[in-house]
Each structure stands twice: as C-alpha cells, then as structure tokens.
C-alpha cells in the first residue's frame, strides 16, 4: 500500500508528533507503537521529529543473557536521576519465531522508577529482526531523542553478539560481562573488541572477576589499535557499586566523541544505514508495484522451473519498471 493512500495516518502522525514534543507521554507512547508497526502515522511524525533529534546521549547496553543488563540499566537510571537528567529506556526482547509472541520482562528490574516523570521505559519485541534490536529501534530512539530526553538507553536482546547494530544506533556502546558464565569471552567474536566503547564486568563481587578482566585486557592487546582505548570497569549493579564511575566514563566518552569528530561520524553512519535500508525497502516496493503481480509470478515460476535464471529475471523486472 502506498503511503499516499492514508491521509488520515499522516494527519494523525503530525498531531502525535506535536503532542509528543509538547510533553504528552500518551501521545509519545502511541507514536512509538506506530513506529514499531511502520505505519504512515510514523512516517509523517518522523518527518517532523527528525530535525529535532540529536540532542540526547544515546547509550547502548549489550551482553550475554544473565550478565545483568536490566539491573545495570536500573542502576544507571538511579544515578542519572540523582543528577537531574531525564532518561528514556528502550528494552528489546526476542520474539518467538514460531508464534511471533514475546515476553517483555525487562521492566521488572526497573519498576522503582515506574512512576518517575523523568523516566520513560518502553519494551520492544525484536519481531524477527536479528542482531539484538528490532528493525525499528533506531527510529524509536530518534523519537525519544526528539521528545527531549537527555539520555536514551538501549538495552539489546541478550544474544552476546549484537554489537554491530547497537553501535550504529547508539553513541556509546557498553559491553557487559559477568564472571562465572563459562567460556563466554573466548566465544565472543573479535568484532566486539573493535566496537565496545566501555567494558563492564558486572557482578564483580563474584569469584572470577579478575580472570574476566585478564581475558578482556588480553583480547584488547590483540585488537586493532583505536583512538579511543575502551576502559574495563567493574560494577555490582545490584548494589549500585561502580555505577557512578561507569557514568563518568560514559560522559568522558561523549566528550571524546565531540572532540574527535566522532559524533558527526556516528551520525553519518546512522544516516547511511537508515537511508540505505529505507531506500532498499522503497525500491523493492516500487519495482514490485510497477511490475505487477502477474509478471512477478511469471518470474518466480520461471526461476523455479529453471526456464529463467534469477539474474535475468531481476534485470527484466527492473528494465520494465
């Protein structure tokens, strides 16, 4: 369906965007639903909100299941609120590939902030998107950023290998480890060393924290040299220990990004990913619409019957379009 066919959605999107900018939390929540469902409402809202975003510090929290991501987010909320900063949280959980259902349980550990006006927590199901985030998480971040939150925290699905996408979506990526989780670190792809801005050893009061730190430092020494040397910190998020230091390092990283053109670089990378994925989607939609169902079906059947090769089929569809 083309977006032009839903003028009501566009009017509603503009109204929701204006209300969200004015501080209406219910409008903000409804807008996030539209963003998750990729409706025309969301499109027209983002047309208004995109120029208004860019002011928030966006922090990504990623790590294996059980490393304590939600508990750390809760502890960060406490520290940030003590400093008077408003915070939005997006917590992503996996969807069942069979039913499409999901249990979104990250709020359980953040409920002490449930009724604080300076905190807005939103759970998102990944809805089949791989990589630790939902396909629409970056758009949701932009909406919360534009709505005026000082900090936006994105908590990924606990896959332990979601680093690439969270890096593109956030300014500062925190990779969480915890002792006693087996050979976790060896299992982590080398890629994580290139992308983590901060390493945190959570549950650092447990046996094995020293070993985790040695392994992280060892892997760091093997990684490509970077302008920013990611520090290895320790927290016991449950008790809030080490969280102020973590926040200080997050701020430090923010300063560093600003001083080294990093924010502009991040913004450009985010823009590229966003633009290219939208362009790809829109191009496919347009090519299919121009070709029409009969030609698409003929091409499909031809490839299946091996009377047509897939490259020629695509060339033919595109040249007709």
């Amino acid at each position: 369906m083309t977006t032009a066919a839903a003028p009501d959605g566009h009017a509603r999107g503009a109204a929701l965007a204006e209300a969200a900018l004015a501080g209406d939390r219910r409008a903000l929540a409804r807008l996030l639903t539209a963003v998750e469902s990729r409706t025309p409402t969301a499109e027209s809202a983002i047309r208004i909100l995109h120029p208004r975003a860019g002011g928030a510090h966006v922090i990504g929290i990623t790590g294996a299941p059980g490393s304590g991501k939600s508990t750390l987010v809760n502890a960060l909320l406490r520290e940030l609120r003590a400093r008077g900063r408003s915070v939005a949280v997006i917590a992503v959980d996996p969807s069942s590939p069979i039913t499409g259902g999901a249990i979104l349980g990250d709020r359980v550990r953040m409920q002490e902030h449930a009724t604080d006006d300076g905190v807005f927590i939103r759970s998102m199901a990944a809805r089949g998107h791989a990589g630790g985030l939902a396909a629409t998480t970056d758009a949701a971040v932009a909406v919360l950023d534009a709505a005026g939150f000082d900090v936006v925290i994105v908590e990924t699905v606990g896959t332990g290998q979601s680093e690439v996408e969270v890096v593109a979506t956030t300014d500062t990526t925190v990779v969480l480890e915890a002792p006693g989780m087996g050979d976790e670190i060896q299992a982590i792809k080398a890629g994580i060393m290139e992308v983590a801005d901060l390493f945190v050893i959570n549950k650092a009061d447990r046996d094995g924290a020293d070993q985790v730190e040695r392994e992280l430092e060892g892997m760091k020494s093997l990684a490509m040299a970077r302008d920013w040397d990611p520090p290895v910190l320790r927290t016991v998020a449950q008790q809030g220990a080490g969280v102020a230091e973590l926040l200080a390092q997050v701020r430090e990283h923010g300063h560093w990004l600003r001083g080294h053109g990093g924010l502009a670089r991040k913004a450009r990378e985010r823009a590229r990913l966003r633009f290219e994925s939208l362009l790809a989607e829109a191009s496919v939609r347009r090519a299919k619409a121009l070709a029409g169902p009969a030609r698409l079906e003929a091409a499909l059947q031809g490839i299946a019957d091996r009377t047509l090769d897939p490259y020629t089929a695509v060339d033919e569809i595109l040249s007709q379009a």
């Binding site: 369906m1 999107g13 219910r26 639903t33 998750e36 259902g101 999901a102 979104l104 349980g105 709020r107």
Partner: protein
C-alpha cells in the same frame, strides 16, 4: 494490507497488591506469548499508579490483573479509574485469581471486562482478548 493488521496484541500482565505469588501470572504470560501475544510483565507488588504508568508507556491494548490477596474490591476499581483519568479508557481490563462470584458484578460495573476464575484455560483467555480488544487506529 497494512502492517498494522499483523501487529501482535500487546498485553500487560500485572500483579497489584501485596501477595507474593506470581506463578499463575507467569504461566499466563508464557501461555499468551505462545498464543502470539506480546506480553509485558512487571513483577510483584505493583501499585495502581505503577500499573497504569506501565500501561501508558508501553501503549498496551489490554491489561490483565492477577490478584490473590483479597484486596480486589479496592485495587481493581482504582486501576480502572486511573486508566480513564490518564486517557486510557479504551484499554481492555480483565482480572484473574481468587475473586468470589458475588464480587464480579461490581467489578464489571467498575470497568473490568471479564473475571477469569481458577480453571480458565490460556486458550479461553486468548480468545476473549482477541475478540474484545478494541481495534486501534489502523494508520
């Protein structure tokens, strides 16, 4: 066909009041997940304000309240009232747990659409929610 038509129903499962048993709520959360719902779970001992704020921020279609403490006649109407106050009067509210039959009419008057007693199957709850969740703006 718009993507909205495929949007899973989003449900908040909440435990108001002071009882410390959430096994039933968790079984329901998992069951509804398996029925294709997106289930937000907020844990034990939630105040009406916490529940309503979560419903608002999560923009859920429906709230399921599990209560065993006996305080349902004060807590459930209070939650319905708060939902209406915060502009969430279109959110479907259901309840389950230990609720005597004679209390059900007054709860319905207060805005609880259905009360599921012990022995209700997940399939029955899912079917009720699918039939009664109000269709949201399709754009």
């Amino acid at each position: 066909m718009g993507p909205m038509s495929d949007r899973p129903i989003k449900v908040l499962i909440a435990k108001p009041g002071l009882d410390g048993h959430d096994r039933g709520a968790k079984v329901l959360a998992r069951g509804l997940r398996d029925e294709g719902f997106e289930v937000v779970y907020t844990g034990l001992r939630q105040t009406p304000d916490m529940i309503v704020t979560a419903a608002l921020q999560e923009d859920v279609d429906t709230v399921g309240l599990s209560i065993l403490s006996g305080a349902h006649m004060t807590l459930l109407p209070r939650i319905c009232e708060l939902l209406r106050e915060r502009g969430l009067g279109d959110v479907l509210v259901t309840a389950g747990g230990i609720i005597p039959d004679e209390d059900v009419p007054r709860l319905r008057d207060a805005g609880v659409a259905a009360v599921f007693g012990p022995g209700t199957t997940i399939g029955e709850v899912a079917a009720f929610l699918r039939e009664n969740v109000r269709p949201r703006d399709a754009a």
